[in-house]
Amino acid sequence: MVRLITHNLLACHVKGCTSNNFPLQLQNVQIELREADFNPDFLKTFLPKLEWKALVDSAKELGDTSLPLEQPEMLDDEFLKNLHHVLLEIHIEEGNMICPNCKHSYPISNGIPNMLLAEHEIG
């Protein structure tokens, strides 16, 4: 499966593509919503490691606008529940992830992103 928790860590790795290679843009996606166990402690620790703007923008590409543009200082329950939903409950089943720099397209099929490159593209 690929959810935004994983997408927020992925970057393009085509040979020579080392800047502006994140976040991968989501295109032609099909999503499924599935409930996941809510763990506020996990979210609080993980939060500082997120690239926040990338998360907010990618959530928008998936039609979710529940997250604020800036990370709030007070982590109330409503915010954590929204964050939980965006990170862990939206499953991207099909679609493409496009590098903003080199435009390489990584396909997602049956919930599994294929990050393999052709031999000449490997850095």
Partner: protein, 275 residues
């Protein structure tokens, strides 16, 4: 009689060699491979993995995110059993058929991606921990095994990242039925004390078909070879190998916390540090 382990010599193109003798085999044996792994589990109350791996994953701070490089059927993704939502492990493998099993490992949706262990499709240093269990021994040259270690070092945080690596040992325990050929097959014995071998996987037959034998490639590690490999990989990246030093100037390093042998495997656990 069970087919035995035999020596092999790596062809010039290591990538093609791995394609033939590792990747395509796992694609074909994936469901059978996975069922034997889970069968072993069902005899215990919980699927108890090896103690060192279980302890490593149980002792991670809450909220950490990690990479399982070469996740196979994803059997380590559900850990730690006693508190599975404390940490989040993302699986990476080259075999799409194994990933189809891994994405539901333990009956829960898992995060998995398809890539080579020598790829680096991540923001640098974005993981808190990484594990590589029974994977690096499938890479066919010293350079590629070293590169695989370097990918793990790049994937985790330079200041607090933790890494655990397991590979097959030449020294097998008495429970193992395998006999390892004694002749060294490496061209350069001094640099590569391990042995390059084929280990047969028998896909059992039914009434109409004959049993199929797949010879998977392994580099079986000699004593001390894994720790040496990790040290070389780190030094090449400019990392200090040893305990954290508070000398003037900022440094990056790795500390080898543990290394040893457990049930036919060598393992090494390391932690990254910055000063």
């Amino acid at each position: 009689m069970a087919p035995s382990v035999i020596s092999t010599i790596i062809s010039d193109n290591a990538l093609k060699y791995e394609d033939t003798h590792v990747h395509s085999i796992y694609e074909q044996i994936a469901p059978h491979f996975s069922s034997t792994r889970y069968k072993a589990c069902s005899q215990l109350t919980h699927c108890q993995p090896w103690p060192v791996i279980a302890a490593f994953l149980s002792n991670l701070p809450s909220g950490w995110v990690g990479l399982d490089s070469g996740t196979g059927n994803g059997k380590y993704l559900p850990l730690p059993y006693e508190n599975p939502s404390r940490v989040w492990t993302i699986g990476l493998d080259r075999s799409s058929n194994l990933l189809k099993i891994a994405r539901n490992a333990g009956g829960v949706y898992r995060e998995v991606i398809r890539a080579d262990v020598l790829d680096h499709p991540w923001r640098k240093g974005s993981f808190d921990y990484a594990i590589s269990i029974a994977t690096i021994h499938h890479l066919a040259t010293y350079e590629r095994r070293k590169q695989a270690v370097q990918r793990l070092l790049q994937a985790v945080s330079p200041s607090h990242g933790r890494i655990l690596i397991y590979v097959w040992a030449i020294e097998q325990d008495e429970l193992s039925k395998r006999e390892i050929p004694t002749a060294y097959t490496s061209i350069d014995e001094e640099e590569q004390p391990g042995r390059d071998v084929f280990v047969p996987w028998v896909l059992s037959s039914n009434s109409r078909t004959e049993a199929q034998i797949f010879n998977r490639y392994y580099h079986m590690f000699a004593k001390g070879e894994l720790t040496q490999l990790v040290s070389m990989a780190a030094k090449e990246m400019g990392l200090h190998v040893g305990e954290k030093t508070e000398n003037a100037g900022s440094r990056r390093g790795i500390e080898i916390r543990m290394d040893g042998w457990e049930r036919s495997n060598y393992y090494v656990e390391l932690r990254c540090w910055t000063s």
